[in-house]
């Protein structure tokens, strides 16, 4: 049986290589702190596979160290060698639509695994571990796309894709860690009983013994929490621990997949309305040199409101079908 564990090592290897490359890059402005951040991230991906045999607290220390190094502004992107605009124009003309092939390979192979191979059994055992077919597919897809891409595009240096990957990874920067940190925060909030607290408040505010009210509280909570936090990722663990799981799934018997998927999208309606999601709603007006920096949000609000109502209707029907 194939599990997803090796894909974490693939990701860990990519982060670790980035760390090592930066350590060897004398021109990097924040060479050692960046090298430390990416190496710790890569190392933590490997360490995470052995938590049963190894203690968890060293990994916790490493996570907090990464957050502090990156959070204090000690990381920033270096100048990575790549092609110029003119070279790319010329190459785009020469390579044509072949350029889309490596990128399209990823979703195609991933779906092939998730749909085609997820039910294949070998001597009574499933070929791919249950629930991990998609992730395994993603790992294989990336390897296949790199192979196809190298074959079609014929880069002069065979490992240039790793350097290009580092360029993009450094562009994303410390934000790479943020989604995982928000999951950790959600876990801590759950252990501290905050989901229950928000649930208690929700119960005091509205009677959750009605399915319709409970769905509306879950969706509205997702949207409002997202407006405050600027990110549906932060709202999801809190609202799910408070209402989504105990009330909607356990009490009313909602199917978890549609309830949580559409609940997250109700949160996205909040993201469209908030300046807290600065990278989505405030950076574009600056980039486009708009006079009214809030005009994009104003344009998005009607769509957000309409979609919120649509999402609530879906959540009332689809998870209970």
């Amino acid at each position: 049986m194939i599990t997803a564990e090796w894909i974490y090592w693939l990701a860990g290897g990519f982060f670790l290589t980035t760390g090592i490359e930066i350590a060897l890059d004398r021109s990097h402005a924040k060479r050692w702190t960046n090298a430390l951040f990416w190496s710790l991230l890569g190392g933590s991906f490997f360490y995470g596979s052995f938590l049963g045999r190894l203690p968890s607290w060293p990994l916790g220390l490493s996570v907090i160290a990464m957050a502090l190094v990156a959070g204090c502004g000690l990381t920033s992107a270096g100048a990575v060698e790549t092609t110029s605009e003119a070279q790319r124009e010329e190459s785009a003309r020469r390579k044509g639509d072949l350029l889309f092939v490596p990128a399209l390979t990823i979703p195609l192979v991933t779906i092939l695994f998730a749909v085609g191979l997820s039910r294949v059994t070998l001597r009574g055992l499933p070929l791919l571990a249950h629930g991990e077919a998609t992730l395994i597919g993603l790992g294989v897809a990336v390897m296949a796309a790199l192979f196809v891409g190298t074959l079609l595009l014929r880069p002069k240096q065979p490992f240039v894709s790793l350097r290009e990957g580092r360029r993009l990874l450094e562009t994303v920067g410390w934000a790479v860690l943020l989604p995982q940190m928000l999951t950790v925060l959600g876990g801590l909030f759950t252990q501290a009983g905050i989901g229950t607290d928000v649930g208690l408040i929700a119960e005091h505010v509205a009677p959750l013994d009605s399915r319709i009210v409970a769905v509306i509280v879950y969706a509205l909570g997702m949207a409002l929490f997202t407006v405050i936090m600027g990110n549906a990722f932060a709202a999801f663990p809190i609202m799910t621990a408070a209402v989504g799981w105990p009330v909607l799934v356990k009490h009313f018997g909602a199917h978890p997949a549609p309830m949580f998927a559409i609940g997250m999208l109700a949160g996205y309606c909040g993201t469209l309305c908030t300046p807290m999601a600065a990278n989505f709603n405030l950076v574009p007006p600056a980039l486009l040199e708009m006079r009214d920096k809030y005009r994009q949000i104003k344009v998005q609000i009607p769509t957000a409101l309409a979609l919120f109502v649509v999402n609530v209707c879906f959540m009332l029907v689809l998870p209970f079908a």
């Binding site: 992730l135 790992g139 595009l153 860690l177 501290a192 949580f260 486009l288 879906f314």
Partner: protein, 240 residues
């Protein structure tokens, strides 16, 4: 509320810290780390337990970050001019109105995001250099070369909004995107389920269709608004 309830509510100060921290634009990593430690301490969780929680929480949520392993592929294609090629393709569709052009972009952006290709598009690479100039040129066909500031702002806002709406309600259909993996990793870690990311992705499709229809209709209405405003404007200029 009685005193016991007050003690239970104490860790909620952690939520308040997150809100304050984000409102003050402090670095989110610092805010999240400190708020997490703070509320756990208030709830009486020991420091060793907190460190363990950071460790296991990180290990169990690694699947979110797997989305980044596609970067070497994207970077390789970018190196050989993927963005430039995409521009060439969209340039051929120059015979469109501003609203219809943005509708096509919304469709392309949403479809690409649904295939996991969120790096095709984006305001910096696509909207500013290609989409907005094309939309503006289309509007100039009815309004003349000097568009009022208010109209250019409206077109810019719609161009940026089409990008955001397309990306948001497309990416959730792709199985390896952060939000899908956040749902599965959070639920699996906390409630001992095994949710398949593909299931989550499929349930995002109804909302994605609704988003395309709703926002698409608004983009077509933008054309009527622009025609109304710009032809009135053109008449006024002629009268002057």
């Amino acid at each position: 509320m009685d005193e016991h309830l007050h003690a239970v509510m104490l860790p909620l100060l952690g939520v308040l810290m997150v809100v304050m921290g984000f409102a003050l634009r402090l670095n989110p990593l610092i805010v999240v780390t400190i708020a997490g430690i703070f509320s756990a301490l208030l709830a009486g969780i020991s420091p060793l337990h907190i460190l363990n929680a950071f460790g296991t929480g990180f290990a169990n949520s690694r699947s979110i970050s797997l989305a980044f392993i596609v970067l070497p592929v994207v970077g390789l294609a970018e190196r050989f001019g993927l963005q430039q090629r995409a521009k060439m393709l969209i340039d051929r569709a120059a015979a469109l109105t501003a609203g219809r052009l943005l509708l096509v972009y919304l469709f392309v952006r949403q479809t690409a995001a649904a295939l996991g290709l969120t790096s095709i598009g984006g305001v910096a690479q696509m909207v500013r250099p290609v989409i907005y100039p094309m939309a503006e040129a289309a509007a100039m066909r009815i309004g003349g070369d000097e568009l009022p500031d208010d109209v250019t702002d409206e077109i810019k806002a719609h161009a940026a909004a089409a990008d955001t709406v397309g990306a948001f309600f497309g990416e959730d259909i792709f199985v390896a995107i952060g939000s899908v993996l956040l749902i599965t990793s959070y639920v699996d870690a906390n409630y001992h389920l095994k949710l398949d990311p593909l299931q989550i992705a499929l349930w995002a499709i109804p909302t994605a269709i609704a988003a395309f229809v709703t926002h698409g209709l608004r983009l077509l209405r933008l054309d009527r608004t622009l025609v109304g405003r710009l032809s009135a404007n053109a008449r006024k200029t002629e009268a002057d």
